[in-house]
């Protein structure tokens, strides 16, 4: 690809990753969440693929698959965390300390930390989607490269 595309990619990649992280992080407060944020971040990977070619990312296939598995394991494990009550029960919400106190009912700005396991699950899903979509795009690149 031309130098224009490469330069713009260098500028846009960090922005897309940070914006993806923001969407994941605020998933329980504003529109967005794990999947959307992960997809935004994965678009950054796709951009790299287009601008620099498959070779640049080909070595990262193993890393992506590990990240994807880790995301899945973390999500399921967070569900198991609630087993003292019921599966998927939000035991961390309002448990004090880092996780803060129960939120008041009704419209309010909300805090980043008071939702218990929800943001953690968002992060798990976000990484899974980032890695999964990244791997899919990468595989399409690898497939298309040979003839």
């Amino acid at each position: 690809m031309t130098v224009v595309v490469r330069t713009i990619t260098r500028v846009l990649l960090p922005i897309s990753l940070v914006f993806g992280g923001y969407v994941i992080m605020h998933g329980h407060l504003t529109p967005g969440g794990g999947f959307q944020g992960g997809a935004v971040a994965a678009s950054g990977l796709a951009l790299v693929l287009v601008a620099f070619g498959v070779e640049r990312l080909a070595g990262k296939k193993g890393l992506l698959s590990v990240l994807e598995s880790l995301g899945g394991v973390a999500f399921a494990a967070l569900g198991f965390l609630g087993l003292g009550v019921t599966f998927f029960a939000n035991v961390l919400a309002g448990s004090g300390g880092l996780f803060g106190h129960p939120v008041p009912y009704g419209p309010n700005p909300g805090d980043l930390n008071t939702a218990g396991t929800l943001p953690l699950m968002n992060w798990a899903v976000g990484f899974k989607v980032l890695a999964g979509l990244g791997a899919v795009v990468l595989l399409f690149g690898l497939f298309g490269g040979e003839k």
């Binding site: 407060l29 504003t30 529109p31 999947f35 009704g106 419209p107 309010n108 909300g110 979509l133 899919v136």
Partner: protein
């Protein structure tokens, strides 16, 4: 009657998707048809939850006592979109592999499995 217009449009989308799946010969176009059906169903779900004059169901800085649209169909739609992405990616991957084996995307030529 005019309130049902969104539903009619969604059904037209689904029908168009089915038409694409029946009438088109190119595998990639079949995947597009599948996406059309998915979009139709997703739009139908979202339009089900609309409340006249409602605001988005977000509690952050929401005006008090304003009616919100139903959040459940939106959550359902989101799940459905995620599944749709996975399905599309998988189908496109199969299309790529089929093309590498057979060198064609015409459905009439991809019929080793028949009879």
């Amino acid at each position: 009657m005019i309130g049902n217009l969104p539903f009619v449009v969604c059904m037209i989308l689904v029908a168009l998707g089915l038409w694409t799946l029946i009438a088109k010969r190119n595998l990639v176009k079949l995947v597009i048809g599948m996406s059309l059906v998915t979009s139709g169903v997703n739009l139908f779900l979202v339009s089900l939850g609309y409340v006249r004059g409602g605001i988005p169901p977000i509690y952050t800085y929401a005006p008090a006592a304003a009616p919100m649209v139903l959040p459940t169909p939106q959550a359902l739609t989101l799940t459905s979109i995620v599944i749709g992405v996975a399905t599309t990616a998988l189908m496109l991957a199969f299309v790529v592999v089929i093309y590498r084996h057979k060198g064609t995307l015409d459905v009439r030529k991809i019929r080793d499995l028949r009879g």
